[in-house]
């Protein structure tokens, strides 16, 4: 990577152009990796310099480890993929003990993604993570559509979404980012409810519920029957959600959904995202996030912006 970086803008210059603050946390740049698409971060260290990333959202963590769904867990579709991993994870405690020490050595923001099936389970997980050193914030997955139990309902009901947000805010000493689901009639309503109950920022969007059937076996391709659609196919849905949410709330928004290139990232920032998360693209282009960072720095220079934040929400309607 280093050699690559030199013929781009130098690292420091980039930081001046791209550094942003969200919920009181300073990010070296607005490009982060999305939960569930970069493992616990360390898995990507062989392919990219983690110090280049603005931040890392870990795979979803629960109070106790989870085995996840039976295979098949993924199916590729046109322009995207369906996943029903079932939130397999090592559990919050193992993360704190075995992953965090190595992860915090990097100069990037570390944001565990947290989920549970009851408010209490969220609090259990947060409690464990509060003991961990080097965590910058939490992202609450209240919307992962891959879990049959509860899970989804939090994101689909303004009251439930507000309830879990308020409870976690009371328990957490670190900023709380709430991740919204696109599978609702009015995402702005949910966003306002979550903001009102103290969320420091929002992540928009999680996957769109989808399904694929194997016409030969006549069985769903996913053992879980339905799964979450992600990738470029959902980008227009995500841009619309970011646009709607950014106009509905005051708190900053992380834009997510099909981002694979610097043009994609710029589209989300112009739509109202203060920062972005790269998800599925990490699978087929592991260096996408780093390419986007270089691209954003070049864009700022070409358009003589002092800092990328000047671009946030500049869409003219």
């Amino acid at each position: 990577m280093t050699s690559k970086r030199e013929d781009k803008t130098s690292h420091d210059q980039q930081t001046d152009l791209l550094a942003i603050e969200i919920a009181g946390i300073r990010f070296n740049n607005p490009v982060t990796t999305a939960s569930g698409t970069c493992g616990y971060g360390l898995e990507m260290a062989e392919l990219i310099d983690l110090n280049r990333l603005g931040g890392i959202f870990t795979k979803g963590l629960s109070a106790r480890p989870m085995r996840g769904n039976a295979p098949w867990r993924i199916v590729e579709t046109h322009g995207g993929m369906l996943n029903a991993i079932g939130l397999q994870n090592i559990g919050a405690r193992t993360f704190v003990m075995e992953k965090l020490p190595a992860l915090r050595q990097y100069n990037t923001r570390i944001i565990p993604n947290v989920f549970g099936y009851t408010v209490e389970e969220y609090l259990e997980a947060i409690e464990i993570l509060e003991e961990g050193e080097g965590i910058d914030a939490y992202e609450l997955n209240i919307s992962c559509p891959n879990v049959k139990a509860g899970g989804e309902s939090f994101a689909n009901d303004a009251h439930l979404a507000a309830e879990v947000t308020a409870a976690v805010k009371r328990a957490a000493r670190r900023p709380v980012i709430v991740k919204l689901s696109p599978n609702v009639t009015d995402i702005a309503e949910i966003a306002r409810a979550v903001e009102a109950s103290g969320a420091d920022a929002l992540s928009v969007i999680n996957t769109v519920v989808g399904m694929a059937i194997d016409i030969h076996t006549r069985r769903p391709r996913l053992a879980n029957v339905t799964g979450g659609l992600s990738g470029p196919a959902i980008k227009p849905i995500a841009v619309r959600c970011v646009f709607q949410v950014a106009r509905a709330v005051q708190i900053p928004v992380f834009g997510i959904g099909g981002i694979a290139t610097v043009e994609d990232a710029l589209e989300f920032i112009i739509a109202g995202a203060s920062a972005i998360q790269v998800g599925t693209a990490n699978f087929y282009d592991p260096r996408a996030s780093v390419k986007i960072i270089d691209g954003l720095a070049e864009y700022c220079q070409r358009h003589s912006l002092e800092n990328i934040r000047e671009l946030v929400g500049t869409v003219e309607v």
């Binding site: 795979k59 199916v75 590729e76 046109h78 397999q88 990490n282």
Partner: protein, 272 residues
């Protein structure tokens, strides 16, 4: 593990039937990375927008040169990804992520006779192993099966390497070798030669691997199988490639990743 752009040296298409077509793809890499038996790479034509995901392909063969590395793959043209690969022409660029996955346990093969069992394009994952066994002077035999003679991928290469007397073939239509499943000649062989210690290395369709695992346990023979699973990333971050592995927990198993914990597993550790 590197993420780079390789250049197509050759891409030769062949067909067994109209329904079953294959390609042989040889790529040139500037980087002379290690290439171990059983390992694989994730491939996709460079710059092609669809399909998004790279496809996992086992290393078939490789040649090291002073200034570059040449790796060969054999792929069956099934769906969108392999169709895209089949359109590659010499000089085209390919997104290459590799080397990925673990390797066969060659230590365990020492002082044993190695029986390689291949089904269809699964043989692609066993040629490097056969080469390595030869080099270590470990006696090796191949049992290769497929629908028809045209589906016995790499047969000539294996015969050339191991000698025809060490290659047992079976085709469902009887067009080459015995008629039926490849596990039949394997069992016959085991009936005759129970004396000296044996190890099995297998790669092929799930059904074949199950049967091989069964045979292995019946004869109390250690067996390693190379698995397939749909993969989004190939390097451990998507957790899409789950396989059930025995564990002493209430349910009796946990899920491991085929891409990083495998693709090679001991058959008895798998929760079939």
């Amino acid at each position: 593990m590197i993420d780079t752009i390789a250049t197509v040296e050759l891409n030769i298409l062949s067909s067994s039937t109209a329904a079953r077509r294959y390609g042989r793809l040889r790529l040139r890499l500037k980087e002379r990375i290690p290439v171990l038996p059983g390992q694989f790479a994730m491939l996709k034509p460079h710059g092609s927008p669809e399909p998004l995901l790279r496809r996992a392909m086992a290393y078939y063969r490789s040649e090291r040169y002073a200034d570059h590395l040449s790796v060969e793959f054999i792929y069956q043209i099934l769906g969108r990804g392999t169709q895209a690969l089949s359109r590659l022409r010499s000089g085209d660029e390919v997104d290459f992520l590799g080397s990925l996955g673990n390797t066969f346990d060659l230590k365990a093969a020492e002082r044993r006779e190695a029986l390689l069992v291949a089904g269809g394009v699964g043989s692609a994952a066993l040629y490097l192993l056969a080469e390595e066994l030869r080099q270590r002077q470990i006696p090796a035999r191949l049992f290769i099966g497929g629908a028809s003679c045209g589906d016995l991928c790499g047969l000539e290469d294996f015969i050339h390497l191991l000698g025809s007397q060490n290659v047992y073939s079976a085709t469902m239509d009887g067009s080459y070798g015995d008629q039926g499943f490849v596990t039949a000649p394997l069992e016959n062989y085991l009936q005759e030669r129970r004396s000296e210690p044996i190890i099995i290395f297998a790669c092929g369709p799930d059904a074949m691997l199950r049967r091989v695992a069964q045979i292995a346990s019946e004869h109390a023979i250690p067996a390693q199988v190379s698995l397939e699973s749909p993969m989004a990333c190939g390097f451990g971050i998507c957790v899409g490639c789950a396989v059930a592995v025995k564990a002493d927990c209430p349910e009796g198993f946990i899920y491991k990743k085929v891409c990083t914990d495998g693709p090679v597993f001991w058959s008895e550790e798998l929760h079939w």
